[in-house]
């Protein structure tokens, strides 16, 4: 570990929490025993192959399945019209109508008359095998009459733009403003000594978890039940939405997420294939399954980002920012998926970054295009906001004539200002941003790096050095239900947990969180074990199956520990409360005179009079001698609704070397100092930072969902879409600073998205820093060798 600030010292615990603990999840995953969705096989199953539109926008004149039906194993070819009776009016759900007048076109699982993006499902093949389904889908002939497509979001709002949805009369879905005091913002800009005005493009990203999606829907013919297995982050939400969409009674639906091979937000959705397979399974009375291919995933699974950002800062002559003004254009794609419209708004409260800025103006206009829908992707709105403000702060530093670290220091929210009410209306929980930045500067050896940079510049080297800062704060731990209500979100933000003590004093924890790589089984067992004074290996953690864990709101938005973990923590407290009553009864003592030490209740100061936890567990089970009126068994359930978001923060510093002959960028050092509050398992925290940073750096340097002008996607597989390998990945140096969150009893915040939020601007600020002496002030993402070389060549007066 490279922690410079031992997280264990911040927890009131002599136990496991705060110390690295190897994961219990690993052995099954390491030996091939873990079952992912495509590993399943059900008797009598039929395979679905999906025919996807090859046109970005076209009228579907006809579907000809005759050639497909000639293929051995292909049993049926169904057009959207053939399938329409299976779902009737039921369209795919959007749970976040952010404004009352938001335009939300009906979104059928399979299009009936018009295909609206490349990849839009237009017909379905049923077959007896995986290969026959693929062969059949390839053999279906669809007659398209192409319509004009709108691909670019700025073009989509121009006069006379083709319309994605003709009946709406516009490509705009909604406009959402957050401008608490417009006059004050105008005044701040009128009086500013320095105004920075920038336009940034957030390219679309393909989430690309290593496991593509997959669905197996199994009907109970006699019972009318449906078991839906899906590679999903959200079995609980999917159950509700499947019931609502298909009219299947909710209590007849069981949703199971088996081992899930990563999600990063793209499995936080209700997809056409889940509804399609469920509807077909119930209709035909046989298991129906579909496994996504990687090429299919490029268009059938949501994409992330897709924004054009205009950000302005108004600062006084010391560089103290007085106001921030943002206008955002956000790409929804062709339809609104589960939380598509809400994603830009999750960043909409954070365009002032971690700075004490008095006045705020944010307005987002979201538009339809003939492309795959966007939705949540690691960070969801917050990486975009952080990118804009962190890039703009570097521009301000240049305007004021100070270093990037100095402009940040002059503007940070002070450590003594918490709880801090932001200009966007949030209450930030805790932090010490300056200390975090100082630690990062020290770890990076900034003076030495800057000396090397100066030497390379003086030498006219073709290997120029750049240093990039990114200081971030994010809102996570989604979320207080009442706040979600004020944002028009269609559900709450609580989480549920049950802690059940078995007769032999082993413990079952049932969590509503749905891990897909985060190691909740290990971390939750540490929480419970420490409170009960038992071994974590004696605590089993069950999840991801609504028959076992009926209540929950699942895993996304860095919410699992701060909301779901807190529910586990509180349920364990309730178990202890009941255990204390049993112990008091057995010891014939007043419960207030008892203390719980090393897994036993004892009368304070009298260790000889003690009842071990195991004895209480067995007594609760036999119920032979419980206090009058007490129910047998030792079990507690808690549903926890957080009073506030949590606000992880940090400073990351990227050092890059730019080859000015080729435009190649190499990250030569990467320092991350994060404050995610108290840490339960620092090993897992560090792993989340590593992976998050690479995902953020990948947006900066490698990844881009490329579309042609007529809406064809170019980057359909992992040969074209550059998910970085170990050869591109930098080494990370990670440390933490802990300011416990006062919002929850463990003082935790969240770390799942922080690395991704921080890394993108750190890397691009570093690239721009390397090239600034050439007069370069911006480099588009991804900063590929070609893009960087062109920027250099243009700056030197060459042709681009």
């Amino acid at each position: 570990m490279t922690m410079t600030d031992d997280p264990a010292t911040h927890l009131d615990s002599a136990g496991h929490m705060g110390r690295p603990r190897l994961r219990r999840e690993d052995p099954a995953l390491l030996t091939g025993e873990a079952q992912f969705i495509d590993d399943m096989s059900l008797h009598g199953e039929i395979w679905v192959g999906i025919v996807r539109s090859t046109e970005a926008h076209a009228t579907i004149l006809g579907v000809d399945g005759s050639a497909a039906l000639e293929i051995d194993g292909v049993t049926e070819v169904l057009s959207g019209a053939d399938l329409a009776p299976l779902w009737g009016e039921g369209a795919l759900p959007c749970a976040w109508p952010v404004t009352d007048d938001m335009r939300n076109p009906a979104h059928l699982p399979v299009a009936t008359s018009v295909a609206k993006y490349v990849g839009d499902a237009v017909a379905v093949v049923l077959a007896t095998s995986r290969y026959a389904a693929a062969d059949g889908a390839a053999a279906v002939s669809v007659d398209y009459d192409p319509l004009p497509a709108v691909v670019d979001i700025e073009a989509a709002v121009a006069d006379g733009a083709p319309l994605v949805h003709e009946d709406l009369g516009t490509n705009e879905s909604y406009t959402w403003p957050l401008i608490p005091n417009p006059e004050a913002v105008d005044e701040a800009f009128a009086n500013a000594a320095h105004v920075v005005s920038e336009r940034f493009v957030q390219q679309r990203l393909i989430p690309a978890p290593m496991e593509p999606r997959g669905v197996v829907a199994a009907p109970g013919v006699a019972s009318g039940e449906l078991t839906l297995y899906s590679a999903t982050q959200i079995p609980h939400i999917l159950k509700v939405m499947t019931a609502v969409t298909l009219g299947i009674p909710e209590h007849k639906i069981r949703v199971v997420a088996p081992s899930v091979g990563g999600g990063f937000g793209c499995k936080l959705n209700v997809y056409a294939e889940e509804i399609l397979c469920s509807a077909l399974a119930m209709d035909r009375g046989v298991p129906v399954r579909w496994t996504e291919s990687r090429s299919e995933a490029a268009t059938a699974t949501i994409q992330g980002r897709g924004q054009v950002q205009h950000i302005e800062l108004a600062a006084d002559d010391n560089g103290k920012v007085q106001a921030v003004r943002v206008k955002l254009l956000a790409d929804m794609g062709a339809y609104l998926q589960l939380v598509t419209p809400g994603v830009p708004l999750l960043g909409g409260f954070l365009y002032h970054g971690c700075y004490d800025i008095a006045h705020y103006s944010f307005e987002c206009t979201s538009v339809f295009t003939n492309k795959t829908p966007t939705d949540a992707y690691r960070g969801a709105g917050r990486p975009e906001a952080t990118y804009a403000v962190e890039r703009a702060m570097d521009s301000l530093a240049v305007a004021v004539g100070v270093t990037p670290e100095e402009i940040r220091s002059r503007n940070f929210i002070a450590a003594d200002a918490f709880p801090y009410e932001s200009c966007a209306g949030l209450i930030f929980d805790s932090g010490d941003y300056q200390t975090v930045l100082d630690k990062a500067v020290e770890m990076a050896g900034l003076d030495g790096v800057r000396a090397t940079q100066a030497q390379r510049r003086a030498d006219g080297s073709n290997r120029q050095i750049g240093v990039g800062f990114s200081s971030y704060v994010e809102m996570c731990g989604l979320a207080p239900s009442r706040v979600l209500a004020s944002l028009n979100y269609g559900a709450g933000g609580w989480e549920a947990a049950t802690v059940r003590v078995l007769p032999t004093a082993k413990v079952q924890v049932i969590t509503g969180s749905t891990p897909h790589g985060q190691g909740h089984e290990t971390s939750w067992s540490m929480i419970v074990a420490d409170k009960l004074g038992i071994d974590p290996d004696d605590v089993e953690v069950l999840h991801s199956d609504t028959a076992i864990s009926p209540t929950g709101l699942d895993t996304y938005g860095s919410r699992s520990l701060s909301v779901g973990g807190t529910a586990v923590f509180m349920a364990t407290d309730k178990v202890l409360d009941k255990a204390r009553l049993i112990a008091a009864h057995q010891l014939e003592a007043n419960e207030d005179d008892l203390e719980y030490v090393d897994g036993a209740f004892q009368v304070k100061g009298t260790p000889t009079a003690a009842v071990p936890f195991a004895a209480i567990a067995f007594a609760a089970f036999t119920a032979h001698d419980l206090p009058d009126g007490m129910e047998p068994n030792l079990e507690a359930h808690v549903t926890y609704d957080p009073p506030n978001f949590t606000f992880p923060n940090g400073t990351h510093i990227a050092v890059v070397e730019v080859d000015t002959d080729t435009g190649d960028v190499d990250i030569v050092d990467y320092v991350a100092v994060d404050d995610c509050g108290n840490q339960v398992n620092p090993m897992i925290v560090e792993g989340q930072v590593h992976g998050g940073v690479l995902q953020g750096a990948a947006q900066a340097l490698y990844e881009d969902a490329v579309y042609t002008e007529d809406g064809q996607i170019v980057t359909v597989n992992l040969g074209d879409y550059l998910v970085p390998s170990a050869a591109e990945a930098p080494a990370y140096r990670v440390a933490s600073h802990v300011t416990p969150s006062p919002t929850n009893p463990m003082g935790v915040k969240g770390i799942g998205e922080a690395g991704t939020i921080a890394a993108t601007p750190a890397v691009i600020n570093a690239v721009v820093d390397a090239l600034r002496p050439m007069g370069i002030t911006d480099v588009a993402m991804p900063a590929s060798p070609q893009t960087v070389w062109r920027a250099i060549n243009e700056a030197q007066g060459g042709a681009s």
Binding site: L30, G32, F36, M210, A726
Partner: protein, 160 residues
Amino acid sequence: MESITLAVNGTERNLEVEPRTLLVHALRDDLRLTGTNIGCDSSSCGACTVLINGQSAKSCTMFAVQADGADITTIEGVADSDGTMHPMQQAFHEHHALQCGYCTPGMVMAAISLVEEYPDLDDQGVRHGLEGNLCRCTGYQNIVNAVLAVAGSGSKGSES
């Protein structure tokens, strides 16, 4: 259909496959060895890596009939029969070199082969040696550390 014989994890298996059946599908669907995963359709990700006659290979990139007569080791075949994990599996566990675990079987197989072939690996050697195996969760640093630990320990194990 073609009849082929594969020696999989030390056991001879006879099976009937279409000439176009990919090896990975023969392993997963016909032999029900589902530890070997599929992450792409362009031989880019390496999730399907197995050992064929001791050499790592992407099992989505060859037909099952091409492997007729070959010795194949999958992730199910690298631990000891008593369940003790292979040193590479153990190193991945101890270095937190996996999160969701989907790329892991392929990554472990590629790493076993890499360490066998290049005993004197350094950081860059591991990074370039595993360039054909993608991981979306870990950022690779802990994977590199796990592989280096096995390379440095001399406890590589022999699987072919």
